[in-house]
């Protein structure tokens, strides 16, 4: 019993010291770690536009594929309806994306859901920690468990390291596609436009069949909410390289089948209608370059015209 007590006392001392350091260090270095210009902060601008726009409006929801691959101004001008592109990254998770959109939609709005084939319900804890710090209302958009709180504190602690590293080296993480200022007023990423394609193309990996149970439940809850408000929800498949299609056909068709069978909103198109030459992609299998973005936007305008009428 004496050994037990001594151990408990010593372990508590070490534990307490560690907890204090993990909590105190981010506070001490907070001026260094708060970077208002990282891309995650663009959610603030997008949310502001969403709240400001008159209804009816078009709200684009999705991952980075939609941020890179759509010209919202062109859609707005063609369809004479205001557009806001809420897409930032699939890493935010479906829950975050959908909850965030719920906040600003009104009767008559049209939601366009353009997710990637990989659509996690829960987002990356690291990204959500960052957003939570930058965006005061972000915590309303995702489920916050005790373990998340612990992870957030650890990620805050870790950010001190990376921020100090880049400050010491006197370099920012200067890839423009990672900056808040690279999104235009509509919410589209524009930093990659007219830039040479980056190769090798990233995220080229075989898609796997998953059950999509949680994902579809999340999507259908959202559709149910929107129906109550008087908002229509449309699902569109993401832009995808034609060269990668055959390799992933089984998983993609399975996803399409699951969606057709279970999704309570309307499905706009087919995966095959969204295949583009590899040359139309900028850096990943979901990010279109200038030419690809132009083609896709024109295609979407054609697709949306009957709906908007």
């Amino acid at each position: 019993l004496i050994e037990y007590k001594t151990f408990f006392k010593n372990a508590s001392i070490i534990g307490l010291i560690i907890v204090l350091i993990v909590l105190a260090v981010p506070k001490i270095f907070s001026p260094i770690i708060s970077d208002k210009n990282v891309y995650a902060a663009s959610t603030i601008d997008k949310e502001n536009r969403l709240a400001k726009l008159e209804s009816p409006k078009i709200v684009i929801v999705g991952g980075s594929g939609s941020a890179f691959s759509i010209n919202s101004k062109m859609i707005e001008d063609s369809l004479k309806m205001p557009v806001v592109n809420m897409a930032v990254s699939y890493g935010l998770g479906l829950t975050y994306m959908l909850e965030e959109s719920k906040n600003g939609i009104k009767k008559g709005d049209k939601i366009l859901l353009f997710t990637e084939y990989y659509l996690p319900v829960e987002g990356s804890k690291k990204l959500l920690t960052l957003i939570n710090d930058l965006n005061p209302i972000a915590s309303e958009y995702f489920k916050f468990s005790v373990s998340d709180w612990i992870k957030f504190r650890v990620f805050d602690f870790q950010r001190v390291g990376s921020s100090l590293f880049y400050k010491t080296k006197n370099t920012e993480i200067n890839d423009p596609i990672t900056l808040r200022s690279s999104f235009n007023e509509y919410g589209d990423m524009t930093a990659h436009l007219n830039k040479p394609n980056r190769r090798p193309l990233k995220d080229v990996e075989k898609l796997h069949k998953t059950l999509y149970t949680k994902e579809l439940a999340e999507l259908n809850d959202f559709v149910k909410f929107c129906k109550k408000v008087g908002v229509n929800v449309y699902y569109g498949f993401p832009a995808f390289p034609a060269t990668e299609y055959d390799e992933n056909k089984k998983a993609i068709k399975y996803f399409e089948w699951k969606l057709k069978k279970n999704f309570k909103g309307k499905i706009l198109n087919t995966p095959e209608a969204n295949l583009y030459p590899e040359n139309d992609f900028y850096d990943t299998i979901y990010h279109l370059n200038t030419e690809g973005r132009e083609k896709r936007t024109q295609y979407l305008i054609k697709l949306l015209k009957p709906i908007i009428k």
Binding site: I17, K125, K126, V154, Q158, F165
Partner: protein, 483 residues
């Protein structure tokens, strides 16, 4: 349940104090219940498969002990069939089916056999092998049959080593469940230290370098030269840290509760020959194959060709144990070929190094370590590649376009930013420095002899390092769980 999850931390913090608080006679029940919970977190229904083999092996053990003559062998065979049968259905059925169909199609017979769409129970190969070692040891007379069904179930299901080993022998672990464990400060502290070092290996090293490895190995056809070389080297580090990290956590967690599990890794990348490597890598599996297959085939006490054959078959099956895929079979076969060549050229190499006056020199040791490591890395390509064509592509393209590809290494995005690369290099440096020093002096003993303040400072520093530079967002499972 994953060791590198908050869920496990909470589980461990609840299970361990209650274990010590309970009277000795009830402790095994508590550990068994905790182990069931631990396993059922993955997929609850699969506990029935585990239950099936546990019941068969428990009774097989008792009947083997009771019987005489050929009946003993019959009971052993029943037990082996039950265990191998479960493995065959869940792990190898689709592989055999696929290859049989391919063969039949080649000879012009078109028969469609059904494909099983079921998930492989986690850690199946580990607990099946542990269960088989029990009935074999009872049959050999090295172990008395366990009469307490619960204790036998705990032998198979003991949570620290249930899903990824070390694969224990009954002589080492069964008697420990009867021993009254007391709370010993030093042993508990040692166990926690080993667990912390395991977490460092997994979270700081394996999961970070794994980001680069995945980026390249998930789409190898996009790369040539350096990215393939770096990814292969990093995979060798990832798999070592992932698996030995798991073993450290398992051994440490068991040690905290008073149990000694067998050592599973002994700084394998410092091996100067392939045979030495296999004495230091996944020791519990290597010795399993040695004790129950290699020696049964005759080991090295046979004519030379038969010895080579025994080596080859043992490693071929070891490859198949890892996974039902030709990549794993090739990996095993390649290691078998290495060992045969090593044995075949031994006397020639010894004479040559004596002639050039290099025998027993540090240069030869370092050179041998480098050659061994390179051969092991070549074999890892087959282990990690998604399929056989990818592995062949990687092998063929490693020496291609080296100058140009070195630029890709710096410009392309492999999932790590500059800070990520710095952390990866730093953590690998820390890992191998510690291992190098461990080869000469025991760091555990050195730390133990420091003043209390320094000791506590070092423990806190290690934990803070894990928290500060650990890769917590990658959600990477332990690689060996799939086996």
């Amino acid at each position: 349940m994953l060791f590198n999850s908050l869920h496990f931390v909470l589980f461990f913090l609840i299970v361990t104090p209650i274990y010590f608080w309970l009277p000795h006679i009830h402790r095994w029940k508590w550990l068994l219940a905790a182990s069931c919970y631990f396993y059922m977190i993955f997929l609850p229904i699969y506990i029935l498969i585990l239950g099936f083999t546990i019941v068969i092996d428990y009774y097989a053990g008792i009947y083997i002990e009771k019987s005489v003559g050929s009946q003993r062998k019959q009971y052993l065979i029943i037990s082996l069939i039950a265990n191998i049968g479960v493995l065959a259905i869940f792990k190898y059925y689709n592989f055999l089916n696929e290859n049989l169909q391919l063969f039949l199609n080649t000879v012009g017979i078109d028969i469609k056999t059904p494909i099983l769409t079921i998930l492989l129970p986690v850690g199946l190969s580990f607990h099946t092998f542990q269960a088989m070692s029990y009935t074999i040891e009872v049959y050999r007379g090295n172990q008395k049959a366990e009469k307490n069904f619960g204790i036998y179930a705990l032998y198979v299901m003991f949570y620290p080593q249930l899903v990824a080993g070390p694969i224990e022998r009954p002589q080492n672990i069964l008697h420990q469940f009867y021993k009254k464990q007391t709370f010993e400060y030093q042993r508990v502290a040692d166990g926690l230290k080993q667990m912390t070092w395991g977490f460092f290996k997994k979270i700081v090293v394996a999961d970070r370098v794994g980001i680069f490895v995945n980026a390249v190995y998930d789409s190898p056809f996009q790369y040539q030269g350096f990215p393939l070389i770096v990814a292969t080297i990093l995979f060798s580090i990832q798999i070592y840290c992932d698996f030995s990290g798991y073993s450290d956590i398992a051994i440490g967690a068991a040690k905290v509760m008073g149990f000694d599990l067998m050592k599973n890794f002994d700084r394998p990348y410092f091996s100067a020959s392939i045979s030495e490597f296999w004495k230091r890598w996944h020791i519990s599996l290597s010795t399993w194959f040695r004790d129950y297959l290699y020696i049964s085939l005759g080991g090295n006490r046979v004519v030379k060709w038969r010895w080579y054959y025994n080596l080859f078959i043992t490693f071929l099956l070891s490859g198949l144990w890892h996974g039902a895929d030709w990549t794993y079979v090739t990996w095993g076969a390649l290691n078998g070929v290495y060992l045969i060549l090593e044995a075949f050229t031994l006397s020639f190499r010894q004479k040559f190094f004596e002639f050039v006056k290099l025998k027993n020199t540090i240069f030869l040791r370092v050179f041998s370590i480098a050659v061994t490591y390179s051969l092991i890395c070549i074999a890892w390509i087959f282990f990690r590649a998604h399929d056989f064509p990818s592995a062949v592509y990687i092998l063929q393209n490693i020496p291609v376009n080296l100058k140009e590809s070195s630029k890709t290494l710096l410009s392309a995005n492999f999932g790590l930013d500059l800070y990520g690369y710095v952390l990866a290099i730093l953590s690998i440096f820390i890992l191998f420095s510690v291992e190098f020093i461990q080869g000469k002096y025991s760091i555990y003993i050195w730390v133990k002899n420091r003043p209390k303040a320094i000791r506590y400072g070092l423990y806190s520093l290690l934990i803070l390092t894990i928290l500060f530079i650990g890769s917590f967002d990658s959600n990477q499972q332990f690689i060996y769980f799939q086996f």
